[in-house]
């Protein structure tokens, strides 16, 4: 026995695990974890974000959409520019209207006075470069009858000349304005044609053959646009309601019921009002289906 009683003899016989060995084990474990989480050994797991589609409601929903984009439209600008309710407005306004009405009334007014020989050369070059397709025939047709008039009335006073020049200047400005509008309209038309022509209407993940958007995405967009509720009407932002919609054989809304109501009556009423807008709008792609829709304020505020 050791003379110092505080030194225990028993410990020497023990096979205790060395702390150094444990340090090495710990270091190895940390290194392995570091390698695992840094993506050197295992690739980092990244969940792909849920796709968000912007659906143009002009495109009809179909059951089996083909691959394409749901936010493009067909290019009907060439034939009839006024089928749609709201979207095609800029096309018909810009393309057909400006050249015709502006040219007619203003060209008619300066006809009686004499100084027409002067304006004749001006309008000729102007319409040619600016409005390429349409104004040519009109500009050509009008000056023909004017020529004989100028020959009949050679006397021109200064006042008349001044008034005519101001009128011509106005006409010139308006024509320039019309030309700019034409260009803008042409650019817009070209852009629409390009998107609609290059990318077909469909869904990004569509594998079918039908031209249109997925019925679920369409329904979601429709309800989103039909839902009207101000955040000031409800004090909370965590409200959520779930509703089951049943469609009949024609695709009309046959029945709806709450599977989960929110705690707020105004919120639920607004949801019902949005859903009821489907009642008069048969959607063949939804015929005979039953859809579960979740309404929450986050989606509404995102609009």
């Amino acid at each position: 026995m050791h003379p110092n009683p505080h030194i225990r003899q028993g410990i020497k016989a023990r096979s205790e695990p060395g702390l150094t060995r444990m340090l090495v084990v710990s270091l190895i474990i940390h290194a392995v974890l570091l390698l695992l989480f840094s993506g050197i050994i295992l690739p980092t797991i990244k969940t792909p974000p849920k796709p968000v589609y912007v659906v143009d409601l002009v495109n009809l929903p179909v059951k089996d959409p083909r691959a394409g984009r749901p936010d493009v439209r067909k290019g009907p600008e060439k034939t009839e520019p006024t089928p749609g309710a709201s979207a095609p407005e800029p096309k018909p306004e810009a393309v057909p209207l400006p050249p015709k009405p502006e040219a007619k009334p203003e060209v008619v007014k300066p006809e009686p006075p004499k100084p027409e020989p002067k304006p004749e050369p001006k309008p000729k070059p102007e319409p040619k470069p600016e409005p390429k397709p349409t104004p040519k025939p009109k500009a050509e047709a009008k000056p023909q009858p004017e020529k004989p008039k100028t020959a009949d009335k050679p006397k021109v006073t200064d006042k008349e000349e001044a008034s005519v020049t101001t009128a011509l200047e106005k006409l010139q400005k308006k024509q320039e304005y019309a030309g700019v509008q034409d260009k803008i309209a042409a650019m817009a038309a070209a852009r629409n044609k390009g998107t609609a022509g290059d990318v077909p209407i469909g869904m990004p993940d569509g594998k079918g053959t039908e031209e249109g958007v997925a019925s679920d995405a369409w329904l979601q967009e429709y309800l989103k646009q039909a839902w009207r509720l101000s955040k000031y009407q409800v004090g909370r932002s965590d409200l959520e309601a779930k509703m089951q919609l049943t469609f009949d054989a024609q695709g009309k809304l046959a029945n709806y019921k709450f599977t989960d109501k929110s705690a707020d009556a105004r919120f639920d009423d607004s949801v019902v009002r949005a859903v009821l807008q489907l009642k008069d709008y048969p959607v063949p792609a939804l015929a005979g289906t039953r859809k579960d829709v979740v309404f929450n304020l986050k989606e509404l505020q995102r609009q």
Binding site: M1, P5, H6, R8, Q9, G10, I11, A13, R14, S15, E16, P17, L19, M22, L23, V25, S26, L27, I29, H30, F37, S38, G39
Partner: protein, 223 residues
């Protein structure tokens, strides 16, 4: 990984310190787990052996089978103290003891000393766990505060307070707090667990000491 690599030097230093804390605390956790597990297992087996045998000399010979039990140390210390008392009276046999020279008290003191030493052995390194558990979050917080200071200085220099400018610096800074918590949480859990186990073993040692003293006193009274 990019968050760590893009951090400033102070934050990197803090992260390195926290990794060191984590490595050491996990090494202690493994070490204490093995030590206390073996101590508990051997103590249970030794107690069965102790109550099965009637003679101290037989028990003393069997102590080598339970090397990790703190109770074997207590028994050895008490038995050796008992032999010392016997040695003062060479003419007397074993089992012919008396309390006239305070022999039982000597044994009690030896047992108390052994209990203290064994408790210290079992609690060894747990203070490091406690220190890691209590300081690592603050060290991490220091790194975060420093990183946010850096980030705000950068924002001031760039003149833009958009989320794209603010967010990366703050997320880099917050990594330090996260690593601090990762180091501290297992340390605190391990400390609480091992202290509970040590308390249980200390209780067993106290009970064993009392039983040992009772036996010694009975033997001395029998004379």
């Amino acid at each position: 990984m990019d968050l760590v690599l893009n951090a400033g030097p102070v934050v990197k230093l803090v992260l390195l310190l926290l990794v060191y804390f984590s490595v050491v605390s996990w090494a202690i956790i493994f070490y204490k787990f093995l030590v206390i597990h073996r101590a508990t297992r051997d103590s249970d087996q030794f107690l069965d052996f102790f109550w099965a045998k009637k003679r101290f000399d037989v028990i003393n010979q069997g102590l080598r089978d339970y090397p990790n039990s703190p109770l074997t140390v207590l028994f050895r210390e008490g038995y050796q103290e008992l032999l010392k008392i016997q040695g003062r009276r060479p003419g007397e046999d074993e089992g012919h003891l008396s309390t006239d020279l305070g022999g039982a008290e000597n044994v009690a003191r030896a047992l108390r000393r052994a209990t203290t030493l064994e408790t210290h052995r079992l609690e060894k390194f747990t203070t490091t766990l406690a220190t890691t558990g209590s300081t690592a979050p603050f060290v991490g917080l220091f790194g975060t505060v420093w990183g946010i200071m850096d980030a705000f200085r950068g924002i001031g220099e760039s003149g833009s307070a958009s989320l794209a400018v603010v967010a990366p610096g703050i997320s880099e800074a917050l990594v330090a707090t996260a690593i601090g918590l990762i180091a501290a949480i297992p340390a605190v859990m391990g400390y609480n667990h091992f202290m509970h186990k040590v308390n249980v073993l200390t209780g067993e040692m106290d009970n064993f000491s009392q039983e040992f003293l009772n036996i010694v006193e009975r033997m001395m009274r029998r004379g």
